[in-house]
């Protein structure tokens, strides 16, 4: 129920964002259609804890800024490599075990790895990630990393 | 000054296009198409500001969504299309 309400609220916010007009009829139409979509989602059984993880929204506020700084740092490193005339790359594949237990946590970890330039998650299974790194040190930095610990803290008690 | 950004983005667009034309594998082209989508989205927003009508962002949002939808369509097709099935793959999305 609470997921239905939060989904309707999100959809309604999206409607307001796109429309930008605040007349009674238009706003009512938007509210009506967002509630209808939430009901449809409920009927289709796609409305659950995993698809709409509002319980994580508070902790996200501390995790995302850290991730942003990480992204900037590694993007700067990759830019330096690109502009270096010698192109000092050493592409490496590493396999390792992430310590998350929930699907949302695993997806967050995999996406964070991909989002930081220089490393890409090629395969993300429950007990094993396959990561391709632009440099050897960068790829091996993903094993038991700071990011791993932070994501585990982020997912909290599953 | 918005013109500076637009010129920079156009240069980036040209480079991405070069990779799309050169290939050599289809995945390179998909990656380049993805980059073209991102860059043209930024270009669109910048044009909106240059012409003093920043309401163009609705269109940019559509671009962004379509970029993702298009990439996924291409890739799903690659996993299950006629260029060979990968039998041990389990579909997750």
């Amino acid at each position: 129920m609470i997921y239905g309400l939060s989904l309707s609220a999100c959809l309604f916010a999206f409607w307001l964002l796109l429309s930008g007009y605040f007349e009674a009829f238009l706003v009512a139409a938007g509210a009506g259609s967002s509630v209808a979509v939430a009901l449809f989602a409920h009927r289709m059984k796609v409305l659950d804890r995993e698809g709409h993880p509002i319980h994580l929204s508070l902790r996200a506020l501390t995790y995302w800024p850290w991730l942003g700084i990480e992204i900037i740092k590694s993007a700067w490193n990759v830019s330096r490599i690109i502009l270096d005339p010698k192109l000092p790359i050493s592409p490496t594949l590493v396999r390792f075990k992430p310590s998350q237990r929930t699907i949302v946590g695993l997806v967050t970890h995999a996406n964070s790895i991909t989002l930081t330039p220089g490393t890409i998650t090629v395969e993300a299974n429950e007990g094993e990630f396959l990561v391709h790194g632009l440099t050897k040190t960068g790829a091996q930095g993903c094993i038991d990393s700071e990011m791993d610990r932070r994501v585990t803290r982020f997912e909290g008690r599953a | 000054m918005f013109a500076t950004v637009i010129i920079a983005l156009l240069i980036a667009l040209a480079f991405a296009l070069l990779r799309a034309v050169l290939g050599p594998t289809v995945f390179d082209r998909v990656q380049a198409a993805n980059s073209v989508g991102t860059i043209s989205m930024l270009l669109l927003v910048a044009i909106g500001f240059l012409t003093d009508r920043p309401d163009f962002e609705d269109l940019a949002i559509v671009y962004g969504l379509l970029n993702v939808v298009g990439t996924f369509a291409v890739l799903k097709f690659f996993r299950h299309g006629d260029l060979g099935h990968s039998a041990d793959e389990t579909e997750t999305s």
């Binding site: 991909t114 | 594998t25 993805n34 980059s35 993702v68």
Partner: protein
Amino acid sequence: MAGLVDIASWICLVAGGFFSIVGTIGLNRMPDFFTRMHAASVTDTLGAGLVLLGLMLQAGWTLVMVKLVFLGLLMFFASPAAAHALAKAALARGLKPRLHEEDPSSKRS
């Protein structure tokens, strides 16, 4: 104060344009598909993020800014998923990444 915001926004815009170009240069300089993906992600994250940030500073507290924030969030969630799917599909289709141990001068095509 307004001047300060203006300067900050121009720095962001110019830096964003610069990183976009750097990413696409990398797209052309890198030797194989997987390394090219790393270069493209520079454009996707830092280039796009800085351009959007600069434009947000220009927009001020308006609906336009909210839309830009939404656009940024969209990219933030969607681009790694697309990149991951791309890499996975390439690997599943038998495209081998060129690893460090091999002869660096051998260009794959």
